[in-house]
């Protein structure tokens, strides 16, 4: 056990490739915990950001600036009565949220947070991701049916039709990115030599971008960009978020497929939805935005630049700690706010010490040798840049929700079939043609 634990430490492969089940399990647990924390953070950020878009404050009571609100909500949802309608199909009603949750979390096995920071590097990684994430819709469809009620059924029907029409455009956009992995050469249009076979592996896709010195979003400009935009639209539809949240459109179908759900079971749907949001954003980041690669790895290279970029994680947390401490100072001095003040201060301190830890690691690991600190530092950098890029998408999800009205069902379908599908087909063909011509 200990040997299998230690033997992996020097490896540069993912635990899956190295065949180390123990480390795979550790990675799985880390990712599960990480995603759960991310969902909690996302919950808080969404409420606060949405509130500030809408000139209100959002949660302010539970903890300083409502920081503890997600925990209070989780507790509330766990304690709430879990109602199963009498006429519902008991078993299917029970299993539906689990399907969604399983699908959303299984995807994370192949998401590469770094060249070796993934549970496994499957050689069909992207195919696996698309396949499993499309299983999530089964949970919604089945939940709508099992509720034995009209509104959920309509939500389920909408959801399945939506998924079928957007999956195609999404898949074609993905294929055009996968096509790019088979090219060699540097730069946006630079292609040299004979094209080798490409790869479906998530890690391979990022490495291809590294090799070509360009994110695929800029490759064959504007083809990569268009494919990316198509994917970015389709992924919003895939996870049922505004403006494509037809399956749960609250003003039309009360709450769509989860109308009859309550308590913990309902919260599982929410968990699955947010986990799926992070997962599809990760696909977009991996395919088009260079995955874990930091910005300008080739333009600004050298140990000095590496060191500067490795300070970013620590500085980010330092900034957050600064904001928290500023909030502590600005808290009204009334005795009502005493506990909140202390809480926010402690939170700021925690963030600050995390920042200090990260900075220490960055300084200790600045040499390019293979010491543990250096490898750790490297790993933190990978995960940081990956998470940062994903976070941009998460913010976009909130922004969309605050800004846009909801599409109507038939319009959504016609956008999917009549706009996105032809464009993505065209982009795919053009990418192939340009790839051959430029060579």
């Amino acid at each position: 056990m200990l040997t299998s634990f230690m033997s992996y430490l020097g490896s540069t492969m993912t635990p899956g490739q190295a065949g180390n089940q123990l480390w795979a399990l550790i990675y799985v647990l880390i990712i599960f915990a990480g995603v759960s924390v991310a969902v909690i953070c996302m919950n808080w950020i969404e409420r606060k950001a949405l509130a500030h878009f809408q000139i209100r404050l959002g949660p302010m009571r539970v903890g300083p600036h409502g920081l503890m609100q997600p925990f209070a909500d989780a507790l509330k949802l766990m304690l709430k009565e879990d109602i199963i309608p009498a006429e519902a199909d008991q078993f299917v009603f029970w299993v539906a949220p689990l399907i969604g949750l399983l699908a959303a979390f299984t995807v994370y096995t192949v998401i590469p947070f770094g060249p070796s920071q993934a549970v496994s590097d499957m050689n069909i990684g992207i195919l696996f991701m698309l396949g499993v994430s499309s299983l999530g819709v089964l949970g919604i469809v089945v939940a709508g049916w099992a509720s034995n009620s009209h509104y959920p059924l309509m939500g389920a029907l909408r959801s399945s039709a939506q998924m079928v029409s957007y999956e195609v455009a999404m898949g074609l956009a993905v294929v055009s990115a996968v096509l790019l992995t088979s090219l060699h050469g540097i730069g946006i249009y630079g292609v040299t030599g004979n094209g080798d076979t490409g790869t479906l592996s998530m890690i391979g896709i990022v490495q291809a971008q590294q090799e070509q010195h360009v994110w695929f979003i800029f490759k064959f400009f504007p083809l990569g960009l268009i494919a990316f935009v198509i994917f970015a639209i389709a992924m919003v539809a895939e996870v049922n978020r505004a403006p494509f949240d037809l399956a749960e459109a609250e003003s039309e179908l009360t709450a769509g497929f989860h109308t009859e759900y309550s308590g913990l079971r309902w919260s599982l749907f929410m968990l699955a939805e947010y986990a799926a949001m992070i997962a599809v954003s990760s696909i977009a980041v991996t395919l088009w935005l260079g995955g874990w690669v930091r910005p300008f790895p080739n333009l600004l290279q050298g140990t000095a630049w590496d060191f500067i970029f490795s300070l970013f994680p620590g500085l980010t947390f330092l900034g957050l700690a600064g904001v928290a401490l500023l909030g502590t100072v600005r808290m009204p001095s009334h005795s009502f706010f005493k506990i909140q003040k202390i809480g926010l201060g402690v939170f700021g301190m925690l963030l600050g010490s995390l920042a200090l830890l990260l900075l220490v690691i960055a300084i200790a690991g600045r040499s390019a040798d293979m010491s543990l600190a250096a490898r750790f530092n490297e790993g933190i950098g990978y995960v940081y840049w990956f998470v940062l890029k994903v976070a941009v998408f998460m913010y976009l999800f909130i922004w969309y929700r605050a800004t846009w009205p909801r599409y109507r069902f038939d319009q959504l379908m016609s956008v999917g079939w009549k706009v996105l599908l032809p464009i993505s087909l065209g982009v795919l063909m053009l990418t192939a043609v340009v790839g051959v011509l430029v060579k």
Binding site: Q54, M154, S251, L253, A402, W404, P405, R406, R408
Partner: protein, 390 residues
């Protein structure tokens, strides 16, 4: 006065659903009967719409109303004229001032008295402010129905400024009871003019802000254009009034056609639409808010000095007779038909509620549309269930 333009023929009568079909297997025949409401996020209260659907397509609707019926007309027969005045605020509670204006003017007409000039100006200012507030509420909820969350909060933020003026003027924010038979109870507070002018300068850019969010938003356009179309002819035949009628291209506004209060003194335009769809109704109401601001601007600059209460006896006892008086409420023609038997209590008060009559047009507006359109159309008709049910 333009005559109705569109000549699309109207189905002779608005047919109703055949709900008594003997236990039809709905799912097998792909026909779904769905109860939208009375507890539903988008029915603006306790409206219940029974939808007959083919998949998502609406084959027919039937409105079931009356959940909020309080018997306002019966109450009126058992109260004196003065006592009934606050009750009218509770009908269209989003536009309480308009309701009060209509009632007070109807009784004044019945008694053959007229409110003094200063009172008239105050009335116009408050009523137009109330029109803006009502349209703001409509815009926020309508946008929310279509899925845009943010406009709701923007409109409520700005509506707050109007409610503050109401509160300062008469102490109440929603059901104001601002006017009395014969004039106004309260003199304007110090700084009333300034508050109103400040509001106008505050609000002008805010309308632009709403429009930035919605007017050219592609999803908004797709969701509202050609949705819930009603031709001018249909609208007239169905008795639809207010912005819904004007959006169909009929340039008819009681403030111009049969002027009441002192609207004839002010210079404003009647915005009209062309297609009679949801988008046109949206535009018409947005333009109406700007026109209301124009009226307020003129009125606030010209408030004359003088008494605010006309010569009305302490006990209001109109002579035997009957009167129909209507005003242009934010939602359409609000009429009061009052029969007096010479006593202190009205013999009969009939309220002609704009929401009630406009709601009748829902059926032909949503037939053949999708479920999502039903929600949009309910929003665009701008109903208040307190007024529909009375």
């Amino acid at each position: 006065m333009s005559s109705p333009v569109n000549d699309k023929t109207l189905p002779n009568a608005v047919s109703n659903l055949d709900l008594e079909a003997p236990d039809k297997p709905y799912l097998d025949s792909n026909e779904l009967i769905i109860n939208m409401g009375p507890q539903h996020p988008a029915t603006h209260g306790v409206l219940r719409v029974i939808l007959k659907l083919d998949g998502e397509k609406v084959l027919g609707t039937e409105c079931v109303i009356g959940y909020l019926h309080r018997g306002v007309e019966k109450i009126a027969e058992n109260r004196t004229y003065t006592m009934f005045n606050p009750y009218v605020d509770r009908m269209d509670y989003c536009a309480a001032v308009s309701n009060g204006l209509g009632y007070c003017e109807a009784v004044e007409k019945l008694m053959n008295v007229e409110a003094p000039a200063r009172a008239q100006y105050i009335r116009v200012i408050l009523t137009e402010l109330n029109r803006i507030a009502s349209h703001q509420l409509w815009l926020g909820t309508h946008a929310l129905d279509i899925g845009a969350m943010t406009p709701l909060f923007y409109t409520f933020r700005d509506r707050e400024e109007i409610l503050k003026i109401f509160e300062k003027y008469c102490g109440a924010r929603l059901t104001t009871h601002a006017f009395r038979i014969g004039g106004c109870q309260y003199e304007t507070y110090a700084g009333f003019e300034k508050d109103v002018t400040n509001f106008l300068t505050f609000f002008a850019p805010k309308i632009d802000e709403y429009e930035t969010l919605l007017t050219t938003n592609r999803i908004w356009l797709e969701r509202t254009k050609n949705v819930g179309v009603i031709s001018a002819k249909d609208a007239i035949a169905l008795g639809v009034t207010g912005p819904v009628l004007r959006a169909s291209g009929v340039k008819w506004d009681i403030r111009k056609a049969l002027p009441y209060a002192n609207y004839s003194k002010f210079d404003f335009e009647i915005p009209i639409g062309t297609n009679g769809d949801t988008y046109d109704r949206y535009l018409v109401r947005m333009m109406e808010m700007r026109q209301s601001m124009r009226i307020i601007e003129q009125a606030v600059g010209g408030i004359p000095e003088g008494p605010i209460m006309g010569k009305v006896p302490k006990v209001i006892k109109p002579p035997v007779g009957e009167i129909y008086h209507s005003i242009e409420a934010p939602k359409g023609e609000l009429g009061y038909f009052i029969v007096s038997d010479g006593s202190t209590q009205p013999y009969r008060v009939r309220v002609r509620p704009p929401s009630f009559v406009n709601l009748q047009a829902l059926d032909i507006m949503v037939r053949g549309a999708l479920v999502a359109d039903v929600v949009a159309v309910i929003g665009t008709i701008d109903i208040v269930l307190g007024e529909v049910d009375r």
